[in-house]
């Protein structure tokens, strides 16, 4: 197996260019190229499945080697990146058909592949320059994807790119600080330097790098770009953003916490709370706050994609929470949840995208009753929400369970409570999603809606199957994760294909039993149900309405402000808006800048001339005073 990592990295970029050129020939050439190259990338990636470690030097810059490397953890993220990208591209073929301007569409596919390539680059990076370079490439290419979504997406994209740049530059400072000490940015060298430098330095590095990753991972309070960007982006892009892109932040956190700075080091340089280094403990709290607050916000949304976007903030909170525990189980849970979230959140966004494709709206209160018209999409969405809510036996449950157990082992009970609350809150918003779109009254204008074309269904099928498989056989993912974590010095976790055996401090989990018993009881109940007389199917207007007759014109459905009464309970929380605080400061800075600029460049020649004279005078005076001024 002599696949080179450079080739893997180059494939999507070359593919992107070829796709763009192919678009000049015919749109099908373009579509086939796009699918083919993402498939090729996936294939190349899969060759590294058994690779425990592989590193290639692909260049050098300023005396630091540029390295590409892979190990099982990167493989896990590569899997997320390449597979979701492929599915998104397949989904795009039909979903983006409405765009007439085919240049825009050509560049759209090119950017999709570029984003994929950039993310592969981030994951494969074996040094911080490579990492940072692809990080930035990812930021701007994904920006272009976001703004494909129309008028409102421009503001969202703008906010996204500005916050990304800020985050990236925070990382930049940290990287430069490391470079000044190490003169090399290869991970092992960096780790060595961090282990030898002063605690203050190390903590600063972690904070600065962390800010960059937090922005991308949308951990509160740096999340404000996400709800807009993810909801305004075109439907096929949202899964890529929500499922994959924010995982890069999680991957970055994993790298700094456990790649660049081993857990021991963290413990040595700072006090610990609940046997967690204080910095990680703060990270955990931020993640937990993200979980709870984003859940509350998601419950109150009226827009399907916005709801999912907030849910992403909340779910990424679990990932970060798990990663920051520092125990084998917690980190494994976090990594596994990253994979699971990628799967089910992509599934949900694709399902909602399918609904938007057919109905043209994503406003929850405009939809309803589509289960009869789009049964397949309904199944996909239901599987997605079950996984998201963390209900067994689907995949979201297993990873959340691992995180809970890890927190319980460490006795971090308050975090555990918050994580739980977020999860229960998820029941509320996922039910809202499925109820408002698929259940309830079918409105007249959606009478002729059909299920989506086959090309859009295939990605959803794949994800549905993946959701079930990873749910019932968590061992499949744990193989990779545990193997990878061993390289980062974690104790192995006892696991088997179906779950986790009983440990000394943790409970057991065997998802296959849960699943099979559930299936059996379901079948039994169903047979029992069929024993009795057959039901008579009635129209949706044959309904109890306190004696009134329900007619098609009447909107006889409760879907707006679904959780209004709950909204009253959590109203005090919404009085504080982080975004408003940011906007306030940005506005203040703008006014300040404007005010002073106007006073400098007055347009008056005399003023300008006097500047010159003043500078000369000051400089001359400084010299005549013997340079004492400085």
């Amino acid at each position: 197996m002599n696949m080179s990592l450079e080739l893997l990295l180059a494939t999507p970029f070359i593919g992107g260019l070829l796709t763009y050129i192919g678009g000049k020939v015919h749109r099908w050439v373009r579509n086939i190229f796009a699918v083919l190259f993402s498939l090729l990338t996936l294939g190349e990636m899969s060759l590294f499945y058994n690779t425990t470690f592989k590193g290639d030097v692909w260049g050098s810059l300023f005396g630091s080697k540029l390295i590409l490397q892979t190990n099982p953890i990167t493989w896990l993220f590569l899997l997320i990146v390449t597979s979701i990208s492929l599915l998104v591209i397949v989904f795009s073929v039909d979903d983006m058909k409405h765009e007439e301007d085919h240049i825009v569409l050509d560049s759209y596919y090119m950017q999709l592949l570029f984003v994929e390539g950039a993310m592969i680059g981030i994951v494969l990076a074996g040094d911080l320059i490579t990492f940072f370079m692809f990080w930035e490439i990812m930021s701007w290419t994904s920006y272009f994807l976001i703004v494909h979504g129309g008028k409102k997406s421009m503001d969202a994209g703008y906010k996204y790119i500005i916050m990304s740049i800020i985050g990236a530059y925070a990382m930049f400072v940290a990287i430069a600080m490391i470079y000044s000490k190490a003169h090399s940015l290869v991970y092992p060298d960096v780790a060595l330097v961090l282990s030898q430098s002063s605690p203050t330095f190390t903590i600063w590095i972690i904070i600065l790098l962390g800010v960059g990753f937090f922005v991308k991972a949308a951990v509160m309070p740096l999340h404000t770009w996400l709800p807009d960007a993810h909801s305004e982006a075109p439907s096929p892009v949202s899964p890529l953003l929500s499922g994959v892109l924010i995982k890069m932040g999680a991957y970055g956190l994993f790298i700094i916490f456990y790649g660049l700075m081993s857990a021991n080091l963290a413990k040595n340089i700072m006090p610990s709370i609940f046997s967690t280094p204080v910095l990680l403990y703060i990270v955990q709290w931020l993640a937990a706050l993200s979980i709870v607050l984003a859940t509350f916000l998601a419950i109150m949304q009226e827009d399907a994609k916005r709801l999912l976007a907030y849910s992403s903030i909340s779910q990424i909170g679990y990932v970060v929470l798990g990663l920051a525990t520092g125990t084998s189980l917690g980190v494994a849970g976090g990594l596994f949840h990253a994979l699971n979230h990628a799967i089910f959140k992509s599934l949900l966004f694709l399902a909602v995208g399918a609904v938007i494709y057919r109905t043209g709206t994503r406003n929850l209160s405009d939809l309803g009753g589509l289960v009869k018209k789009m049964p397949f999409t309904f199944v996909a969405l239901v599987v997605g929400i079950i996984a998201l809510a963390g209900v067994p036996p689907l995949n979201g449950f297993v990873s959340k369970w691992m995180i809970y157990e890890a927190l319980l082992q460490k006795k971090e009970v308050f975090l555990l409570i918050m994580a739980f609350v977020g999860s229960t809150g998820a029941f509320l918003y996922v039910y809202r999603l499925v109820h408002s779109i698929f259940l309830g009254q079918l409105s007249q204008k959606h009478e002729n809606v059909k299920d989506v074309p086959i090309l859009m269904q295939i990605p959803m099928w794949v994800l549905v199957i993946a959701t079930v498989i990873y749910g019932i056989f968590p061992g499949l993912a744990m193989d990779v994760i545990v193997k990878g974590m061993k390289m980062f010095g974690f104790a192995p976790i006892a696991y088997n294909l179906y779950g986790f055996p009983q440990g000394s401090t943790m409970g057991a989990l065997k998802v296959i039993n849960i699943a099979s018993v559930l299936m059996i009881s379901f079948v039994v109940a169903w047979i029992f149900f069929l024993l009795f007389s057959k039901s008579r199917k009635v129209s949706q207007y044959d309904n109890y309405a306190a004696g009134q007759v329900v007619t098609p014109e009447l909107k006889y459905n409760y879907s707006f402000g679904f959780y209004m009464s709950f909204g009253r309970v959590i109203k005090p929380i919404f009085k504080i808006s982080i975004e408003r605080i940011y906007n306030y400061w940005v506005d203040a800075a703008k006014i300040f800048g404007d005010y002073y600029m106007r006073r400098v460049y007055t347009g008056n020649l005399e003023t300008y001339n006097s500047y010159i004279v003043i500078v000369v005078t000051i400089a001359a005076a400084a010299v005549l005073l013997g340079g004492k001024i400085w």
Binding site: V371, K372, F378, I386, A389, V391, P392, F397, W401, L408, K411, V413, I417, F420, V421, S423, T424, G425, L428, Y431, V434, L439, G440, Q441, L442, G499, Q502, T505, M506, G507, A508, L509, K510, N513, I514, V517, L518, S521, F522, V524, A525, F529, F532, S533, S535, K537, V538, Q540, D542, N543, Y544, Y556, N557, Y558, S559, F562, Y563, F566, R568, V569
Partner: protein
Amino acid sequence: MVKMILIAIGAPLVAFAIGLSFMMIKRKIVARIQRRYGPTIIQPIYDVLKLLVKEDNISHGVIFSLGPIIAIAGSILAVFFIPMAGFSMLTGSGDLIALLYIMAIGSLGMALGAGDSANPNASIGISRALTLMFGYDLPLVIIVISVALQYHTTNLSDIVAAQANGNWTLWTLPLSAIVGFVVTYGALGEHPFDIVTAPHEVATGPMVEYGGKHLGFLMISHAFHIYIEIALFVDLFLGGASNILIFYLKMFAVFFIMIMFDEVLPRFKIDDAVRFYWKWPTVVALISLIIVLVK
């Protein structure tokens, strides 16, 4: 093997029987509290049977019909995870944390079915049910964590075993037990938390469109539900039981006290219910949790 199969078939039946018996007793007791004679004690059985064999029943679609089925399937699944008088079939396949989620399967299935009925009353009812669930979940989680920490395990069988010899959690963690008791009200939708199905407001809420065998199934599912919630309470706080009779008696004691309070309380508005749960039970549960932590 044969024993396993027997338990597998028997456990749900026993659970159903216990739940149904409570439903029967409840009506009688309530009637007596209200100085009524009340229906005959086997009235609920009549009700269920009548509904099940009813020839004319309507359906709003597949999902509508699936709702009650999933509700029962989920309930049966949960029954296997709760140690019942020494039998615990699946506690090795999922612990307390998993159980909390497993218990939700039935309710969510039911919610799906009810939502398909396109009746606003049903939707409002579900909205309230989920909100209420969110409300009582917070204190519930806290007390579950307290208990798990107390016994250093999340395995329910181990928790029961640790309470052998009368060393009940009720005595060691009285505050948690009280909160658990209050939470059980919400979980069962009893007074004062019955706004979900309030007949005069939302015409029995999620059940509004259900009739015939569907409604019969829902009543069966409710019987399971009563069993699950109270059995969980008994296992967590009253040390479970080694034989089915003692188990039943403990459950009955809990249920009887519940009904006693039940009928004298007014009904909470839904947001008040959530506020209530997030206020006192949560605070008390937290105090209890901190006690465990410090200990």
